[in-house]
């Protein structure tokens, strides 16, 4: 199977199939709604976007940054259309502007506002950004990429679905480079082994 790049409005399949992400049906035919790669077999048709803003989904684990403290809670930037709110009931410590948290999205309303729960506070560490559509590649099959990144950099890593990666300890500079590489080469095959040898090479030099 060859991966085909489609632009918005381009035909994905003329046959009846189960429709997945980023496709729509018009007059019985299936079209892409974004610039992306087609995944189509005898039963399913979907398109994986090559770029795009993070749209909150229920159950997603995200990484947020505290923007402001209010009377009852905190306003948190989740790298999407709106800020989210966390009630102080969920958090023991007092948080400052710039504090990093992780949370699960409990629900999303009709205007894409997310309700957060299962909040965890991080101390220290830093944030590395990547396009949110590339996050599955940072995790990899059975978290293989994550394991490679952890092993190659010695950093503690937490991946948020919203295009943010929290990292602490180890060689975060190298981690940022590796993630940049994943971002630019995310559409290539055997990415995990490519990243593994990239990290190895860098570590040998050092």
């Amino acid at each position: 199977m060859r991966k085909k790049i489609v632009v918005p409005g381009e035909l994905v399949s003329e046959e009846r199939k189960k429709v997945g992400s980023h496709v729509f049906v018009e007059n019985g035919k299936i079209y892409s709604d974004v610039l992306g790669l087609v995944y189509s077999d005898s039963q399913d048709a979907s398109v994986v976007a090559l770029h795009g803003k993070y749209v909150p989904q229920r159950e997603d684990l995200i990484i947020g940054i505290v923007v402001q403290e209010t009377f009852g809670g905190y306003i948190v930037d989740i790298n999407s259309f709106y800020y989210s709110f966390i009630s102080k009931e969920f958090i023991r410590d007092r948080l400052q502007r710039g504090a990093i948290i992780s949370a699960k999205i409990l629900s999303v309303n009709e205007i894409n506002e997310a309700e957060l729960g299962q909040v965890r506070v991080f101390y220290g560490g830093e944030i590395i950004n990547i396009s949110s559509v590339k996050i599955p590649r940072v995790i990899g099959k059975n978290a293989s990429m994550m394991e490679a990144l952890k092993a190659g950099t010695g950093a503690n890593i937490m991946v948020g679905r919203n295009g943010r990666i929290w990292a602490k300890g180890g060689n975060t500079q190298l981690l940022a480079e590796a993630i940049k590489k994943i971002e630019t080469e995310s559409h290539l095959s055997n990415l995990t082994s490519k990243i593994e040898s990239f990290l190895k090479e860098k570590n040998n030099k050092a």
Binding site: I5, G9, G52, L61
Partner: protein, 259 residues
């Protein structure tokens, strides 16, 4: 224009003054993803026209009273740099730029799945750096590529072209000389190429219904040519992806561990 210019021949032996055939576009070059801070961007050269387009959003529409709870707003801004025209233009936007911005934004609204992003605004900013007739269709063509580059969900691309009349002939993609003909008619057209729905159409000049039929046919043909260049530009950015063998769709099975 002066009287003696009326005799000027705009088409001779099937060739125009700049050597093009009647149904030939000026050279069109499109590059997607040229600005790092924008969510999507495009640089376009179309004859002498040079254009940069950038997309920001969808982001929360502010102030709040402009928000629409059912769909996203499109904030399209067409601007010309002061030095992009033969006489220096005032830096303030004129009535022409404001009108073009309005109808072009409306053309894009039909293409974008606006209902998926209520209360937000999508900023589409286009700057004309150099011009020689047909900038509004060139701008819209660039904007559509920038929107696709930004990953904004759309029903289709928007492809646009100018068509019209000079020296009694119906021609595609008029340049400035042709637009200055005494009988010139200028018709900017934009369509959704898949369905041929017309999303922008303007005209000024004197035209018969027969001439319009011919012009429309030529315009649709031109838009399709533009569409091919747009598609090529977007694909080029990710060319290697098509060459490689596919991997099964990678879905995250586990999340990372914290400390």
């Amino acid at each position: 224009m002066t009287k003696k210019e009326e005799k000027k021949e705009y088409v001779k032996n099937g060739k125009r003054l700049d050597g093009r055939g009647l149904e030939e576009l000026r050279p069109l070059k499109i590059e997607a993803g040229v600005l790092s801070r924008a969510e999507g961007s495009c640089y376009l050269e179309w004859g002498q026209n040079k254009i940069v387009a950038a997309v920001y959003g969808p982001r929360e529409a502010l102030p709040k009273h402009i928000q629409n709870p059912y769909k996203a707003l499109v904030n399209y801004q067409y601007r010309m740099a002061t030095f992009s025209v033969s006489d220096r233009k005032s830096p303030k936007p004129g009535r022409r730029e404001i009108e073009i911005s309005k109808v072009s934004g409306e053309a894009l609204e039909k293409a974008i799945f606006l209902e998926r992003f209520p209360n937000t605004t999508i900023g589409v900013f286009v700057e004309i750096l150099d011009s020689n007739a047909g900038t509004r269709v060139a701008a819209l063509t660039a904007a559509s590529v920038a929107l696709a580059d930004a990953g904004i969900p759309m029903r289709d691309m928007v492809s646009a072209v100018g068509v019209g009349k000079a020296g009694g002939e119906i021609i595609l993609d008029l340049n400035k000389d042709e637009e200055d003909a005494s009988d010139a008619v200028d018709i900017p057209i934009a369509i959704l190429p898949r369905t041929e729905e017309i999303v922008l159409l303007q005209m000024d000049g004197l035209l018969t219904p027969e001439e319009w039929k011919k012009a429309l046919k030529l315009g649709l043909k031109g838009c399709k040519q533009v569409y091919e260049v747009q598609k090529e530009a977007l694909r080029k950015k990710y060319l290697e992806a098509e060459k490689e063998e596919a991997e099964p769709n990678v879905e995250a099975t586990t999340q990372g561990e914290g400390e």
